[in-house]
């Protein structure tokens, strides 16, 4: 277990370092000057120049990279060009929205997907099983922003049960904050659940075709017992992989849903920062997301070893 874990952790750190270089270099290539963008079309050249100096944009590339990297290691992500507040604080505020949203959506999606997937696998070839997968197929096909708009018109505009969007901030109370995350998390969870249900079903079906399942049946276990005790556990590895990918997506890739519900999440922060050429914010958020992705992958890798003891000894 230990060798497997240390090797994974080492790879994770190296990946992170390589990513920092790529992220920094890529953003340097992007055209556009944040100072000019801020001062607009009527600005004089010397005003733009003064602002560039204020932002520290006229230092050499290498110096800026290493001071940024040094900052990263000490937890200092620099100061936003546009907002002129520490990038760390900006990200912290957004994570307070994006993380709960991702966790709720993921939980919701898992709670829906696993039973549906198991049901569809056990009813393979029967009408009910086909119907369940048909519904899931529709779920995969529906764009989440369109589904989100339907939810808003039904629950916010017509029934007025929840707000149409926005996030009051956790300071305004746990209940109201949670309430504002209900519709977005449903909109995010359903398409994810549809994908997850299909993966669960096909993974289960594959396992159910194995010889040891027939053996288990032959020694007298019921269908049910075989399904839960032998098949499900072995089918979990692809399901965990998809879950890991979905979490990373839910944390960062939700910009469209954040726009529909005007939530101050990470996706919108990074989008806004890109259009305003607030590169230091983009770099900070992207690094955070890469680190999260790597961490989640690491956890998924380690959880394989828990699910499948055969992996523990491998190095």
């Amino acid at each position: 277990m230990l060798t497997y874990a240390t090797k994974r952790a080492l790879i994770a750190i190296l990946t992170l370092l390589a990513a920092s270089l790529v992220v920094f270099a890529m953003l340097e290539i992007v055209p556009g000057d944040p100072a000019r963008l801020m001062l607009g079309m009527n600005a004089t050249e010397d005003a733009v120049h003064n602002l560039q100096e204020q932002m520290g944009l006229n230092q050499p590339l290498a110096i800026r990279y290493f001071s940024w990297l040094g900052g990263l290691l000490t937890g200092d992500l620099g100061k936003s060009y546009t907002y002129s507040v520490p990038v760390f604080d900006l990200i912290k505020e957004r994570v307070a929205v994006s993380l709960p949203l991702a966790v709720i959506s993921l939980a919701l999606s898992t709670l829906i997907a696993l039973p549906v997937g198991i049901f569809a696998a056990s009813k393979r070839g029967k009408f009910s099983g086909t119907l369940a997968m048909g519904v899931a197929q529709v779920g995969v096909a529906i764009p989440n922003f369109w589904f989100a708009l339907l939810l808003v018109y039904l629950f916010a505009v017509t029934l007025r049960l929840v707000p149409a969007g926005g996030f009051p901030g956790w300071g305004a109370g746990f209940g109201v904050s949670l309430k504002s995350l209900i519709l977005p998390s449903i909109a995010l969870a359903l398409p994810q659940a549809a994908i997850l249900a299909r993966v669960t079903r096909s993974a289960l079906l594959e396992v159910l075709g194995e010889d040891y399942i027939r053996t288990a049946r032959a020694k007298g276990l019921s269908r049910r017992q075989v399904l839960y005790r032998h098949a499900l556990r072995n089918a979990l590895i692809p399901v965990l992989t998809i879950l890991g990918l979905q979490f990373a997506f839910l944390l960062a890739g939700t910009i469209i849903i954040e726009n529909v519900f005007y939530l101050p999440g990470l996706g919108r922060l990074v989008f806004q920062a890109i259009t305003q050429r607030d590169l230091i914010v983009v770099e900070g958020v992207v690094m955070l997301l890469i680190a999260t992705l790597i961490l989640v992958n690491l956890l998924v890798d380690l959880s394989y070893a828990i699910v499948d003891p055969r992996l523990r000894g491998r190095s």
């Binding site: 607009g40 079309m41 005003a47 003064n50 916010a156 005007y262």
Partner: protein
């Protein structure tokens, strides 16, 4: 049975009473499309900054009123010397900044000197270029000497970029704006909302609202839903033109279509062949049908313009007939210019809908006279870099939203690359003329010259599409400057 009825009646009465107590609302939630990068109007061009702080948090010596006129603000009155070069401002007394520090003539000198100084990062530094010296006469009197007379000086001092700030707080205004206005900054949840609250110690007429929240809603569909659900009660610049008819027939809402200072133009690079030939530029102007453009790109909202001047201005002349849609004339002009079969070119489009949708329509119309314009969508940062700064473009569409900006066509090295001695001369005269009738005459000459030279094809004036709760009163109908002046906004009851 009887007591049961009584109980119901009691509940009903208390319901009515409680709704009555809710009626006199003093808070308002407004929707805005773009979040400001920061809240210091003296250090950024973003309209979103002024849309929150102008007249509400910060005030200047003068201010621009709802009709685009100059009104007194922190200066209660002023006099002008006979040669027109020295303005003496008399300041209001007992004015305090929101942090409790007193406002006086030193703050005025500090603000103006800071805006025009060597270290300035003011986005409109040009507004202060006429100033020679600023002198404090006594705590309530300031003398501003100009290098030459300037007809626009009082107007310029009313811009958001010319507001008066205090030396104690100037450095932190980006995050915690401290002004002298009837509202003070309360809180900013980044990416979500900005809250301002009534300033109880205001020197002038107090605000009627206790609290105003600006909520950032970039998505047009979300903006519609937020208004319908009542989460937001006013959208001073509503982004979803396609859903406006829905609000127009809904008695709960008021739809107010006003004008702005945003002249939308098809900019052409006047030094790049074949656009260096005035006949080509005229042909392009005559090839564009402004009505189909406004209908197609703006859902019918917008006023056609034939020159670079806002239709609500008293000196406006309607020159749309002189530059009207006439494809036959356009083809003739193309032939005269030596391009009977047209040519290939490019059209760079920044992100706003008017540009992206408008660009498609214009490209189709230009194809009718043989011009094959390849559409290149660009982001704002790229647009500023490629088109605006480096003039690496052939045609582009953009709206010039600054007020009083006719003079951009007289600037050397501006992105149109238009270089007309006659026009520069006119602008120079306008600058030094204070007499109203004379200025009107000069403004009209300048408009006509532009309509003849067409350094850009003039398309339409951007509308101000306001949608708000029918019970709200006092929001501006037009947008002579980009601001949401809340000083006299209230709920009716």
């Amino acid at each position: 049975m009887k007591s049961w009825k009584l109980a119901i009646a009691g509940v009903a009465i208390s319901l009515v009473m409680s709704s009555a107590s809710f009626a006199a609302k003093t808070n308002l939630v407004l929707g805005i499309v773009l979040e400001p990068p920061h809240l210091d109007p003296t250090a950024g061009a973003a309209a979103a900054i002024d849309e929150i702080v102008y007249a509400n948090i910060f005030e200047g010596l003068t201010r621009i009123g709802p009709k685009g006129n100059v009104l007194p603000a922190l200066a209660e009155s002023w006099t002008q010397s006979d040669d027109g070069k020295v303005y003496t401002f008399k300041l209001h007394k007992d004015v305090k900044f929101h942090d409790g520090t007193a406002f006086d003539a030193d703050d005025v000198k500090f603000s103006l000197d800071r805006a025009r100084g060597d270290k300035s990062t003011n986005a409109q530094k040009g507004l202060f270029s006429a100033i020679d010296t600023v002198n404090v006469v006594d705590p309530l009197t300031v003398k501003v000497a100009l290098k030459q007379p300037s007809g626009d000086f009082l107007y310029n001092m009313g811009w958001g970029d010319a507001v008066i700030v205090a030396p104690e707080s100037a450095g932190t205004n980006k995050d915690k704006p401290v002004g002298t206005g009837p509202f003070k900054f309360d809180s900013w949840a980044k990416g979500s909302q900005i809250v301002i609250a009534k300033n109880a110690d205001y020197w002038g007429k107090p605000a009627l609202l206790d609290k105003a929240t600006f909520r950032v809603i970039p998505d047009p569909a979300a903006a519609t839903a937020a208004l319908l659900a009542g989460d937001v009660q006013a959208f001073p610049v509503f982004p979803s033109y396609e859903t406006i008819p829905q609000f127009q027939v809904d008695p709960r809402f008021k739809v107010v279509i006003g004008t702005t200072e945003g002249e939308t133009v098809l900019g052409m690079n006047n030094k790049k062949p074949p656009f260096d030939n005035p006949k080509v530029r005229q042909a392009i102007t005559h090839a564009i049908d402004r009505k189909s453009l406004i209908d197609g790109a703006m859902f019918g909202f917008g006023t056609p313009i034939g020159s670079f001047f806002p239709p609500h201005h008293p000196a406006y002349v309607d020159l749309t007939a002189e530059t009207a849609y006439d494809p036959e004339l356009a083809k003739k002009l193309m032939a005269e210019a030596g391009h009977p079969d047209g040519f290939k070119t490019t059209l760079k489009l920044p992100p706003p809908t008017y540009a992206r949708r408008g660009g498609e329509i214009i490209a189709a119309e230009l194809r009718e006279i043989g011009i094959d314009a390849e559409i290149i969508p660009v982001e704002w940062a790229q647009w500023l870099d490629q088109v605006f700064k480096n003039k690496d473009y052939a045609m582009t569409i953009v709206s010039h939203t600054e007020p009083n900006d006719l003079n951009i066509f007289s600037r050397d090295d501006y992105y149109f690359n238009y270089d007309s001695t006659a026009f520069k001369e006119l602008i120079k005269q306008i600058d030094v003329t204070s007499d109203g009738a004379e200025r009107t005459e000069l403004y009209q000459q300048a408009q006509k010259l532009l309509a003849k030279d067409v350094p850009a094809a003039f398309l339409f004036q951007l509308p101000k599409t306001g949608v708000w709760d029918a019970k709200i009163e006092g929001l501006w109908e037009n947008g002579p400057i980009q601001a949401n002046d809340l000083t006299s906004v209230k709920w009716l009851d």
